[in-house]
């Protein structure tokens, strides 16, 4: 079965085209063309849009909005998105970063989707199919929504300096597929943790929150003893995959080690 490409000037027109059977939306192509190359027969029409709104980045009033077509390279080049640079840089080599988009990353299954882990820790809202959805809810219903879903942008509050931390653990350096990915956004109340959002990648089939660990961090200091309860609870609710990179057992075992290093860094 052959493929055809349909290009539309606006996201609205692309959205309408996605109502047809056998369509799949393409951002940068690193997921969709790869699937086509691997013989995925679930789609025969690739839909894309050149809508400039999807390539826009806005950072003002403590809020950042990033269009779904913004690439990882564009994030790296933006002066106000430095806090996201470690996550953007963790994705592929330079060629992949010139192609891979923010919107596409939301659909990347484990062990991919490192940028989504960062966005989940940042309390991101996703604009998808004309509605605004919390990223956590979007990820839970991602597969039900269907692969023809059209994300137009993500928005999140800009984190306080030094509050946001990101770590991708991989066996191959400098670039390799993730064993696991951790992003943490901490709000400190003096010397103690006032609030915490911890997001984990490769600990389920999509990025998830480590809610038990978050709860255990509240009111604690960032010391070895202070974070011990959070580390003990880190793997609660996780269901990591076993794949060519690591076993589920290994991921559970090393998660507290790396989360501890990130919290104490």
């Amino acid at each position: 079965m052959g493929l055809s490409l349909q290009t539309f000037p606006t996201a609205g027109e692309a959205q309408s085209a996605l109502a047809a059977e056998g369509t799949r939306y393409m951002g940068g192509g690193t997921l969709v063309v790869r699937a086509a190359n691997e013989g995925d027969l679930s789609f025969s029409i690739i839909v894309q849009t050149t809508d400039p709104d999807l390539s826009a980045i806005s950072v003002s009033g403590g809020k950042a909005t990033i269009g779904a077509s913004v690439t990882m390279s564009a994030i790296l080049a933006h002066p106000d998105l430095g806090f996201l640079a470690p996550a953007a840089r963790a994705i592929g080599g330079p060629a992949v970063r010139n192609m891979a988009t923010v919107g596409g990353n939301l659909f990347a299954p484990a062990p991919y989707g490192d940028a989504t882990v960062a966005l989940l820790a940042l309390d991101t809202t996703v604009s998808v199919d004309g509605e605004n959805v919390l990223l956590e809810d979007f990820l839970k219903g991602r597969d039900k929504r269907g692969k023809a879903a059209l994300v137009t942008a993500v928005s999140f509050p800009v984190p306080k300096p030094d509050g946001f931390r990101f770590l991708k653990v991989s066996r191959v350096h400098p670039k390799g597929v993730a064993v696991l990915t951790i992003a943490v956004d901490l709000q400190m109340d003096g010397e103690r943790v006032g609030s915490a959002r911890i997001a984990l990648g490769c600990m389920a089939d999509h990025a998830i929150r480590a809610r038990a660990a978050e709860k255990a961090l509240i009111g604690k200091s960032l010391t070895k003893d202070g974070i011990a309860a959070a580390l003990a609870a880190a793997a609660e609710g996780t269901d990591p995959p076993t794949d060519a990179i690591a076993s589920a057992w290994y991921r559970r075992e090393v998660l507290p080690v790396h989360l501890g290093r990130l919290l104490l860094s």
Partner: protein, 159 residues
């Protein structure tokens, strides 16, 4: 399957061809335009052997649809040398034994070319980062890193 026209500049020459809709840039270059310098390795975006430069940006031709390159300026390894006169980077690869089987070499050369055009004096860490999307199973990478650093020094000396 319906064929669609694609037209772009390839290594300085205007090229036009009909390709089946959904054809990757890699296959359009290799099968339709006779430029076999980009290699088809994994077709997954992992190996980097198909790396080309599209509108001054490094891209993977195996994950790029040819139709999306309408009017673009595309450069491949085949267009770097002037006849038999190699670029300093290509000479450095030769001198440093940075190619063994040679399969990754065109992708490595394009990744390094993009780096040196953006940053003529990269340090070792920047070279490693620049080729981090390109897999080499022969050299252990060290000769490639040395070649890129050597080419950067040669460029600086010539400037």
């Amino acid at each position: 399957m319906a064929k669609v026209p694609v037209q772009f500049t390839l290594n300085g020459s205007e090229r036009a061809e009909f390709v089946e809709s959904g054809t990757t840039l890699l296959l359009a270059l290799r099968d339709k335009m006779g430029d076999t310098s980009p290699k088809g390795g994994c077709h997954q975006g992992t190996c980097g052997a198909c790396t080309v430069i599209v509108d001054r940006e490094l891209r993977l031709s195996c994950l790029t649809l040819a139709e999306t390159c309408e009017g673009a300026d595309i450069r491949t390894t085949a267009g770097l040398s002037a006849g038999e006169v190699l670029t300093p980077l290509q000479r450095a690869f030769e001198d440093a034994f940075a190619a063994q089987c040679g399969f990754c070499t065109p992708g490595m050369i394009m990744a390094a070319t993009a780096l040196l055009e953006r940053n003529p004096k990269p340090d070792r860490a920047e070279v490693i980062e620049a080729i981090s999307g390109n897999v080499c199973r022969c050299t252990g990478y060290e000769p490639i890193i040395r070649a890129v650093l050597s080419a950067a020094r040669a460029n600086s000396a010539a400037a």
